[in-house]
């Protein structure tokens, strides 16, 4: 610890000098016309970097809410904007990679500026929970979603669902040609016809579920069986669907909503359909994105009222319409092409049980998938 103090001292000195050298001077573009000429063509009208001031007196709907969002602005930006409009809370969002933001919160410790962590998958929330960095949410928030979509200890809550599906090429296959279980894709008849995205977080969560449901050996056998069928590894779900559409592969293991994205992007019909597995098959897993309030939050009240908003009919309808995800609260209409959540015969598993990502990555490594 003493070392870290020493280093910190050096750091503070360096930064102070930096500030003196940098900020104490007239604007940098007046650096004498030599080195600075490189930047003269650039606009410096930008004045970002205003201080984050947190109001002392917090009554509901006031102050600033700082969110670290692992979900991208493209998808959830409008939700934050609507909340800001409604509540009068000033919302400041830092977007980033879910895992990197979780590591950031852990590095920041008690000084974290974040009030709320909005994560792509429950794994990162579980990791923060394990370190005691999340606080328990009020019952009325938790009770809005089914128990399997929230933490056992009530420290995080799911906000929208994603179903694992098998996307298939409708020119090559009919739904009747597809097996009843994801486990049957190890059959040699699927050789060279399968696409997957092993680096994708949802795929890895599915493998974790597989380990829970079928045991370590069962999961290993499945992975080895698929590997033996020479699958195409895609960098992400969307390229996997594009692979199905182009006939590169016949089927791909993906999340349900990417199909709609491809349709939108291509602006028309794509010869791909989603196939939902049944009877509690591991392949029919439903995952969720979720959020939790930090123990160091300066404005936990605003964070909670955001969660209330995110689980309101209105916001859930947004998820259903815009991101084509599954709303987790009842009474929200979903896209007619989707199989309703209560009709998906999902395996009996709690999302908070899917926290051993490390074991999954080791298994993927050992079987040569990653």
């Amino acid at each position: 610890m003493r070392l870290s103090h020493l280093v910190a001292l050096a750091f503070a000195t360096a930064l102070a000098l930096w500030a003196l050298a940098g900020c104490g001077q007239p604007p940098p573009e007046e650096g004498g016309g030599r080195t600075a000429s490189e930047t003269t063509g650039e606009t410096t009208s930008e004045t970002t970097g205003e201080e984050t001031t947190v109001a002392e007196a917090l009554s509901p709907g006031e102050g600033t809410l700082v969110v670290y969002s692992g979900r991208s602005e493209e998808l959830v930006g409008p939700i934050f904007e609507q909340f800001e409009e409604r509540s009068g809370v000033d919302v400041q969002v830092r977007y980033g990679d879910t895992a990197e933001l979780a590591a950031t919160i852990l590095e920041e410790g008690d000084n974290s500026p974040a009030d709320l962590f909005f994560a792509q998958d429950p794994g990162a929330l579980g990791a923060l929970d394990d370190e005691g960095r999340l606080t328990e949410l009020p019952r009325e928030i938790l009770d809005r979603v089914p128990p399997r979509f929230r933490a056992d200890d009530g420290d995080w809550v799911g906000t929208s669902g994603r179903a694992r599906v098998v996307a298939y090429n409708t020119d090559e296959l009919a739904e009747a040609d597809l097996p009843d279980s994801i486990l049957d894709f190890t059959d040699p008849e699927w050789g060279g016809r399968i696409g997957w995205a092993p680096t994708n977080g949802s795929f890895q969560a599915f493998v974790t579920a597989l380990r829970e449901l079928e045991g370590e050996e069962g999961a290993r056998e499945w992975l080895e069986g698929i590997q033996a069928n020479d699958p195409f590894a895609y960098p992400d779900n969307l390229t996997a669907i594009e692979g199905v559409a182009s006939g590169e592969v016949d089927v791909a293991f993906v999340n349900h909503y990417y199909l709609y994205q491809v349709q939108e992007e291509r602006g028309g019909d794509v010869p791909v359909a989603n196939y939902y597995l049944q009877d509690g098959d591991p392949g029919a897993l439903v995952l969720a994105a979720g959020a939790g309030v930090l123990d160091s939050a300066e404005n936990p009240r605003a964070a909670e009222s955001f969660l209330e908003f995110a689980l309101s009919q209105e916001a859930q309808q947004y998820f259903a319409d815009e991101t084509v995800e599954y709303p987790l609260v009842e009474g929200v209409e979903i896209d007619e092409e989707l199989v309703p959540l209560d009709q998906i015969q999902s395996p009996e598993i709690d999302l908070s049980d899917l926290d051993d990502l490390q074991g999954t990555l080791e298994l993927l490594r050992e079987t040569g998938v990653l």
């Binding site: 500030a19 940098g22 573009e29 080195t35 493209e74 990679d97 979780a102 370190e131 992400d236």
Partner: protein, 535 residues
């Protein structure tokens, strides 16, 4: 001091000059810069050892760790070798021959550097995948499937085509900066063009090749975008997987510390091969080598490299953009993000150039153990994956300097720590071509050291300083992990816009900011290459 002999080249570090003590004006800022550079390393040491030696031993003795070390070293060596093989002929062709439209080729061949690896890698996967776009083109010829590009071949290809310009630029600068008299003498004494190239030109280029190669090697170690998209398990990917899987920062820190050691080893090797000669002959335009029939293979080489490394990625981005627009995707305004990108990158370029100056002057004018060490130290931050650097500054910033945390100041600080060696290297090369006698004359005429540095040395080395600043500018434009974690909340750059769209796989939305990013970075690159003529 004895005056410089009239010889065309002379040894700068001959050790004959009496030892001078560097002025405090140089040593103090240099010491501060080095102290700043040591922060990430200090963080890694603290994190690595916080759970005791057992954890360190466990990670180090894991067979997988050694394998990662081997794979990273192999990748860095291969990419560096391939970059040199690609870049040296291109640099020579575009400076010393009568290649048609050679300045256009020079600009085009330098431009792949502005393409972010997370964009380039992605394009490569979709274009060269087993049934990617290339296969679609070849299908009528009966090609059903191309070989897999994932793993080592793909990662090597991607990193080579997007980082060879480092060697290309340094070698071009060296070719422009050296006196062609030696080559002319060789030719007039009866040696052919090939023999002259290998026996005279190439040895003169050696310091430049080594300097550019070093940047390529270290960039390869730090890059995450290409290795993750092409699924090659190097340090950067392994470190990210550690953050992802365990959310335990200790193993990641130990791996990063090993990467630092690997970097130090590479720097040691580089120190041995760099060579000690400084060349300050009179630079002037060489009489071009007449290519004759060799013109065609030369054009083919230039065209091939530019097609793969520049035209293909830009073409695919344009395709995505058009497809999106046709599907009704609205074009969003980007000027806000573009202004932020330009502003932050501009600040980083200016501060990096300023920070590099004392280090480079010390290394060139006061060669010694300490100044050499200071110069080498600048490279350590460069080889670290951006996420490691970012988290180290998150740690220090949030806990010990909360007033600076998530401000533009700390972000620019991170950029400078990350990209400083690009500025140091270019400034150093330029200083090597400034005769010390000029500075001494100014001192003799009564100028103080500060005044000489500001009014004589810096202006004479200005082309190098500008080149360094431009390189920092380009790489900052592309930077992602530090920008995401350390920027002021709500700060949006072109790179974060690209990332935001690709992370949800909205290619059409990613294409416009990616193209604008490439376009804006291309401007300084263009000026850089064009300027060389007079510089």
């Amino acid at each position: 001091m004895t005056g410089p002999p009239a010889a065309l080249t002379e040894t700068l570090r001959g050790g004959k000059a009496p030892r001078k003590r560097p002025p405090v004006l140089l040593t103090l800022p240099a010491a501060l810069v080095v102290a700043a550079l040591m922060l990430p390393i200090a963080y890694l040491v603290v994190r690595s050892f916080e759970s005791g030696w057992e954890t360190v031993a466990e990670v180090l003795l894991d067979g997988e760790t050694l394998a990662v070390l081997g794979r990273s070293a192999l990748l860095a060596a291969t990419v560096t070798g391939a970059s040199v093989v690609l870049a040296v002929p291109l640099a020579w062709l575009t400076t010393r021959t009568d290649l048609p439209a050679r300045r256009t080729w020079a600009v085009l061949a330098a431009l792949p550097l502005v393409i972010p690896s997370y964009v380039g890698g992605f394009v490569l996967v979709s274009a060269l995948g087993p049934r990617g776009m290339l296969q679609g083109v070849l299908e009528p010829l009966g090609v059903q499937r191309l070989p897999e590009i994932y793993g080592f071949p793909g990662a090597t290809l991607a990193l080579t085509i997007f980082s060879y310009p480092y060697v290309f630029l340094t070698v071009r600068a060296a070719l422009r900066g050296t006196d062609p008299a030696l080559e002319e003498a060789s030719r007039s004494l009866g040696s052919g063009a090939w023999a002259t190239f290998f026996r005279v030109t190439l040895p003169q280029m050696r310091p430049a090749i080594v300097a550019g190669g070093l940047l390529v090697a270290l960039y390869t170690l730090s890059d995450f975008g290409a290795v993750s998209l092409l699924q090659y398990d190097s340090f950067a990917r392994e470190i990210y997987l550690q953050y992802r899987s365990a959310f335990d920062r200790t193993p990641a820190a130990i791996l990063a510390l090993m990467l630092v050691l690997l970097t130090a080893t590479i720097l040691l090797v580089e120190g041995r091969t760099r060579g000690r000669a400084g060349y300050y002959g009179r630079a002037r335009e060489a009489r071009p080598v007449v290519l004759g029939r060799w013109r065609w293979p030369a054009l083919l080489l230039c065209g091939g490299v530019v097609a793969v490394s520049l035209a293909a990625p830009v073409g695919v981005l344009l395709f995505w953009l058009l497809r999106g627009l046709l599907a009704g995707e609205p074009l969003r305004t980007l000027w806000h993000a573009a202004a932020s990108s330009l502003y932050a990158s501009g600040l980083a370029a200016v501060f990096a150039a300023l920070a590099a100056l004392p280090i480079a002057v010390l290394a060139v004018r006061f060669p010694g153990k300490l100044s050499g060490l200071a110069e080498r130290a600048t490279y350590l931050g460069y080889a670290l994956p951006g996420i490691v650097l970012a988290l180290s500054l998150v740690f220090f910033g949030a806990n010990y300097a909360p007033w600076a945390y998530q401000t533009l100041g700390l972000l620019v600080f991170a950029y400078v720590v990350h990209f400083l060696p690009q500025a140091v290297g270019a400034t150093r090369s330029a200083l090597l071509q400034v005769r010390p006698s000029v500075e001494e004359a100014a001192r003799g005429l009564g100028r103080g050291p500060a005044s000489v540095l500001a009014t004589v040395t810096a202006p004479l080395a200005s082309s190098g300083i500008l080149a360094g600043a431009a390189l920092v500018f380009l790489t900052t434009m592309k930077e992602l992990p530090a920008t995401l974690l350390l920027s002021p909340t709500g700060f949006e750059t072109l790179a974060t816009r690209v990332w935001s769209a690709t992370s949800e796989a909205f290619y059409a939305r990613a294409a416009a900011p990616a193209l604008l990013l490439i376009l804006l970075s291309a401007v300084p690159m263009y000026l850089l290459v064009i300027r060389e003529r007079t510089g």
